[in-house]
């Protein structure tokens, strides 16, 4: 594991910090609205909330350009929102409507929006990684400076695709960054029950690749790790594995009973809610005023509300959509 000494770490400037916070709020308000809509029966979908993990993609995405790409997973709406996916088509998609990113055909587990760089969302554990390699290969072939991000969970670090992907990325020196969002659990399985190493970042050693463990709930730490990895990738120096420690507030799938952990454990983890913590820090550090943040939050709440209205009002797709997009040519 390589670890840059803390003193030398790149620090996010005030604007970047505000930008990280803005992305976090968009994620959080959007997540809350989705949970509410499910409870009210306005959305019918399995929902893998990422509440609590807002910092990770936000601090990654401020280092990215629109044409940088991401591959993410069922628990990935935070990654997409952080990357800049517009909320209206997102809502239409999770409501299964024709104005959805995927015309309602993909749904929440397969949201895709190439315009904002969201190339693949997979429901198969581990499968974001092999595809991100290919996007990175394409970036390299194009002679571009683009990077590709693969998001995945701690449990996914135990599946074969992880291994094959990190090895290939390393021998091909691909501009790809593997961001493991370690939220301590894989469905109901505690980290150490399924994972044989104390830090997933150590696995990078086996691929001759830099690997770092960071506090994924700390925007400054997370920013630094992402900044370095992105720089390295753009400079043609190859991939990085980032293990970002975090916690998911709503269990595996929204509606879980969380029986598999203790109440104390959960409460302790939730005390480190990154949103209020970062908000307070921004104000304390003089980076933003209470008033400016409140305005931002109000505007975002309105944006989310508008998106929800839009999504739920969008028409359902016609049945012949079943014959479209199977191939480029419509099925007869």
């Amino acid at each position: 594991m390589q670890q840059t000494p803390v003193s030398n770490r790149p620090l996010p400037g005030p604007e970047v910090q505000r930008d990280i916070y803005r992305r976090m709020v968009r994620i959080e308000r959007n997540d809350e609205a989705i949970r509410r809509a499910i409870k009210l029966g306005r959305l019918q979908m399995p929902y893998y909330s990422a509440r609590g993990q807002e910092v990770i993609p936000s601090a990654v995405s401020v280092n990215l350009n629109q044409d940088d790409t991401i591959c993410t997973i069922y628990r990935g709406i935070h990654d997409m929102v952080a990357k800049g996916m517009p909320l209206r088509p997102l809502w239409a998609e999770i409501a299964g409507r024709i104005d959805g990113t995927c015309k309602g055909k993909g749904g929440p587990m397969h949201l895709t929006h190439p315009e904002s760089g969201v190339m693949v969302t997979t429901g198969i554990v581990g499968s974001s990684m092999p595809i991100a390699n290919g996007l990175a290969w394409a970036a390299k072939l194009d002679g571009s400076q683009r990077v590709a991000i693969a998001y995945f969970g701690d449990g996914a670090s135990n599946i074969g695709a992880f291994h094959e992907s990190l090895n290939l990325a390393s021998v091909w020196k691909l501009p790809v960054i593997f961001v493991c969002q370690n939220n301590r659990f894989a469905e109901h399985t505690r980290y150490e029950v399924g994972t044989s190493v104390d830090r997933i970042a150590k696995r990078a050693i086996g691929y001759g690749m830099p690997g770092v463990t960071v506090d994924g709930n700390d925007p400054v730490d997370m920013y630094a790790a992402a900044f370095e990895a992105v720089e390295r990738a753009r400079a043609g120096e190859g991939p990085t594995l980032i293990e970002a420690l975090t916690f998911r507030f709503f269990g595996h799938v929204f509606g879980d009973d969380d029986k598999y952990m203790t109440k104390e454990e959960k409460a302790a983890a939730m005390e480190r809610d990154p949103l209020p913590l970062f908000r307070a820090r921004l104000i304390a550090d003089g980076i933003a005023t209470e008033g400016a943040l409140a305005d931002m939050e109000t505007a975002i709440a309105a944006e989310v509300d508008d998106a929800m209205q839009f999504g739920l009002a969008s028409p359902l797709p016609p049945i012949d959509e079943l014959r479209r997009d199977v191939f480029a040519t419509e099925i007869a």
Partner: protein, 329 residues
């Protein structure tokens, strides 16, 4: 009078595994989240087993389907009878080498020296908004692989009795648990005998037309059968129960009698198991058929998310009624 217990499909599978574990110390269980510390399976198929039979016989695994099936195969050739859970059928794709190249073939390739008495159970099925990667029915793939048996029950009793037979079988068996079949409850006799593999069940006797179905489509076909009855059509409804090897005798006897067949499954119509059944019937009963054999299945498309598309993707009772009417001419 034997005692019964009210069970749904999940509870029936759970009870069958528990009975097998109690009777035979060689029966062991593995899969993601299967132990009670992890909740006894995401849908509860293995709930209570680790508490009752111990943590060595019921083991939660990492998310590593190749390692799961590999460990099960190794334990099987080492004398055990593993019951492995692959959460969803789409995840068998990451373990296909272990299932197809190894579990199914080791007995043959070793000239009978090793055997793999392994049971895999896995959930699938559209209708619950899980979209493109969580709902495929891939039984035709396994039926097209020599050396593995496939069961796809539709009732709690059948889940129970077929699970017992799968565990007891000396060869690898795959049990498909369809989401739509797991909601209904049934009184299942506590001492229910194992249901033999490869034997279909005649759900409804009739003389005008044979409907062959399995898994969730038996429920759909029952609705169609009721509607047809109201129209005065006498349907013989067969629940295959075992997809591979399927019960040729029962199906052929029925179609010999009715002269007409409609085959229904949730999987893609194209190259589904319905094709094998139709091809067999036409070959065996040429000249005895009064109408072409019809097949119903999913359209050539991935499973869609949006509700109306998902409904259109699934065969509905009306589709079956229409197909039956068409063969009745």
């Amino acid at each position: 009078m034997t005692a019964t217990t009210k069970l749904n499909g999940i509870a029936a599978v759970n009870a069958a595994i528990a009975r097998a574990m109690a009777q035979d110390p060689k029966v062991i269980v593995l899969g993601e989240d299967v132990a009670d510390r992890e909740g006894g399976g995401v849908v509860g198929t293995t709930r209570g087993l680790s508490t009752r039979f111990g943590d060595e016989r019921v083991k939660s695994t990492p998310i590593s389907e190749q390692a799961i099936i590999g460990a099960a195969i190794g334990a099987a050739i080492g004398g055990y009878k593993p019951v492995a859970e692959i959460m969803l059928m789409n995840f068998t794709t990451v373990a296909m080498d272990m299932i197809f190249n190894h579990a199914a073939k080791l007995r043959f390739m070793s000239g009978g020296q090793t055997s793999v008495p392994l049971t895999i159970h896995t959930l699938t099925g559209a209708g619950v908004s899980t979209a493109g990667q969580h709902a495929d029915h891939l039984e035709a793939w396994f039926a097209h692989a020599a050396g593995i048996k496939v069961v796809a029950p539709s009732t709690p009793s059948d889940y129970f009795g077929l699970m017992l037979s799968c565990i007891d079988d000396p060869d690898p068996c795959l049990m498909i648990m369809s989401a739509m079949t797991l909601r209904t409850f049934e009184e299942v006799p506590n001492d229910l005998a194992p249901i033999p593999l490869g034997k279909a069940r005649i759900v409804e006797e009739g003389g005008d037309v044979t409907i062959v179905a399995y898994s969730a489509m038996v429920l759909t076909a029952r609705k169609a059968t009721e509607a047809l009855k109201a129209e005065g059509v006498s349907v013989e409804l067969i629940d295959l129960r075992t997809v591979a090897p399927w019960d040729r005798e029962t199906v052929l006897a029925s179609v010999r009698k009715t002269g007409r067949a409609v085959i229904v499954h949730e999987a893609l119509r194209n190259h589904g198991v319905g094709a094998e059944i139709a091809a067999t019937i036409q070959e065996e009963l040429f000249g005895a058929l009064k109408a072409p054999i019809r097949r119903l299945g999913a359209p050539y498309s991935p499973v869609p998310f949006s509700k109306p598309l998902e409904a259109a993707y699934l065969v509905q009772p009306d589709d079956i009624v229409a197909a039956v009417r068409s063969v009745l001419g």
